[in-house]
């Protein structure tokens, strides 16, 4: 048995464990086990790689692993739960960058490959670069560094020709015997630009789907690198992630009722929303005392948490208020829209962090019929997911998106920072309805005040 045989065998086991790990991660009961298996497999794969005979630059390699791994581990450890989505985007972009880097080395070295492998290498380089720059833009958007959706004139035409140009140049240098350094650099610059212009015009509300799509892209890029380097484990892990990522992207897009095609080619823009007839009327304000009384003396309250609650870190306060209401005999339930927070499942994680038990959390299909029987629907920092326009106004960009029927409750109280429109830039017709009143302020303070008022009522 040679060292190479042992390494190949180890890679095989690693690939199997990755698949089993992903499988385990798709069920809540086994999910933690799944990520741990995958973690061990990753360590094993990294360690055995050092035993491949004939590798140079080992010192540099160790340095890069310690540096990259260390910084990423530390940043992942300290990041707030609400900022998780953009961290996933960052790490994903790095994977794409690594895949592109592999291609860059192969091109610079001028290794001879068959036509098929060369093509895959160029494809992987493009997809990896797109994932890298696209993820950087996605991060900037979610982090709030870049608020406007920037749309170039003739966006789709530019995208098309840029894609064509990048592929053309890529194949030219991929098939060349000795590609020029200038050509290689230009190729990667074009690919990076492509990723940037693809993601730039997409609004923040669609970002989860985009991150998921870029995640699938990176998987594919990694798989293609597996073909280039001749490592089947990379092929299997990369393609499995690519395929499951595509499916996950579809599931997310379906939950938001935004076909992927529309997200990429006709992004939601604030301008489109402003152009249409916005809902008119006046918004009524309500005091924390009245809000407290409405809930305390009601019999059923449904809470609709949104991203506003998450950024204010108000989930613990909300749970405290819930317990008070329950002690007073009020039935309290949480209604979670599929894309509440910034990503499907994100809000569940945040509520779980605050200690809210699962049996109080309901998803859209389970709870939508109950709003009609509720005395109060308390909307905390959510907006687009309760906008009835999605049901009625065919011209609205969010028309057809499934929404929570908060407007059906006897009273609707909306806690909101200010009067602005939602994340998608669309005015919310709910706020102008007669049974709806607004409580302005940060979720944290508003809920704390309501809680204090409820306590005072217990006297």
């Amino acid at each position: 048995m040679t060292a190479n045989w042992l390494v190949s065998m180890a890679y095989f086991v690693v690939a199997v464990v990755f698949i089993l790990g992903l499988k385990a991660m798709s069920s809540p009961v086994t999910a933690r086990r799944g990520i741990m298996w995958a973690g061990f497999a990753m360590i094993a794969a990294t360690v055995v790689t050092f035993f491949i005979p004939g590798l140079h630059n080992i010192g540099l390699m160790v340095l890069a692993i310690v540096l990259g791994g260390g910084v990423a581990w530390w940043s992942g450890k300290i990041v707030k739960m609400t900022d998780m989505p953009q961290m996933v985007a960052v790490y994903n972009g790095m994977g794409g960058g690594a895949a592109a880097g592999i291609a860059a080395i192969e091109l610079v070295r001028g290794v001879e490959h068959s036509a098929m492998v060369s093509t895959l290498m160029v494809l992987g380089a493009i997809i990896g670069s797109v994932a890298f720059s696209g993820s950087c833009v996605a991060f900037a958007k979610l982090q709030g560094l870049m608020n406007k959706a920037i749309r170039l004139p003739q966006q789709n035409t530019i995208n098309f020709f840029l894609t064509l140009l990048t592929f053309g140049l890529g194949l030219t240098i991929g098939y060349a015997d000795e590609p020029s350094l200038f050509g290689i650099a230009l190729f990667f610059l074009l690919a990076l630009a492509l990723g940037t212009v693809l993601v730039l015009p997409i609004g923040g509300a669609d970002m989860p789907v985009v991150i998921s799509l870029l995640n699938a892209f990176t998987g594919l890029a990694v798989g293609f690198k597996g073909f280039v380097l001749g490592i089947p484990a990379l092929i299997v892990a990369g393609i499995v992630v690519g395929a499951s990522g595509m499916l996950l992207t579809q599931l997310m897009a379906k939950a938001m009722n935004r076909p992927i095609r529309n997200i990429i080619f006709t992004p939601l823009t604030g301008a489109a929303a402003e152009g249409g007839e916005g809902p008119q009327g006046t918004m009524r304000e309500v005091s924390a005392t009245d809000a407290a009384a409405l809930m305390r003396f009601g019999s059923k309250v449904i809470i609709v948490p949104g991203y506003g609650m998450a950024v204010a870190g108000a989930q613990h306060k909300v749970w405290e208020m819930t317990k008070l209401l329950e002690d007073a005999g009020v039935e309290v339930k949480f209604a979670i829209h599929p894309v509440a927070g910034r990503m499907p499942g994100h809000m569940n994680v945040l509520l779980a962090e605050a200690g809210v038990p699962y049996d109080k959390i309901f998803d859209l299909d389970e709870i939508n019929d109950e709003f009609a029987q509720a005395d109060v629907a308390l909307v905390i920092g959510a907006n687009d997911v309760v906008n009835p326009v999605a049901r009625t106004d065919k011209t609205s960009p969010i028309y057809g998106m499934p929404i929570l029927n908060a407007d059906m409750a006897r009273d609707v109280i909306v806690i909101k920072r200010g009067r602005g429109a939602g994340y998608s830039g669309i005015e919310n017709a709910l706020f102008f309805k007669e049974n709806c009143s607004m409580l302005y302020g940060s979720a944290q303070e508003a809920v704390a005040e309501i809680t204090a008022q409820i306590k005072a009522m217990e006297g």
């Binding site: 499988k23 798709s26 933690r32 790689t49 890069a64 960052v90 994977g95 592999i102 499951s244």
Partner: protein
């Protein structure tokens, strides 16, 4: 690997990926995306091999290789810790639920 074997591997892996997560509940979408993000961190292995074959006397190859390994390692380490933390929340939730049932 010849062309057709590669094609078959590609096809089977794609089906596996599709099948493996086809019944995932909505609450696991984000953690699972993060988890699959971690799995493609195996690109680290590819980057290590690419750097290992790079010419030790060519600073350009070494620089690219260094950053490829760095990014790959960051993808793997960051992807793991973020996924672990997200799924850790679920454990906390389960405990509370058991406590409440008593």
């Amino acid at each position: 690997m010849d062309g057709f074997t590669a094609l078959y591997v590609f096809m089977l892996a794609a089906f596996t990926g599709y099948e493996v997560i086809s019944r995932v509940p909505v609450i696991l979408h984000t953690p699972l995306m993060s988890g699959s993000n971690f799995v493609h961190g195996v690109v680290l292995v590819g980057a290590m091999i690419a750097l290992g074959h790079a010419d030790p006397n060519d600073p350009l190859q070494l620089t690219i290789g260094f950053f490829a390994v760095l990014l790959g390692a960051a993808n793997a380490a960051g992807g793991y810790i973020v996924t672990e933390r997200m799924l850790g929340m679920f454990k906390a939730g389960d405990k509370k639920k058991e406590g409440g049932a008593q």
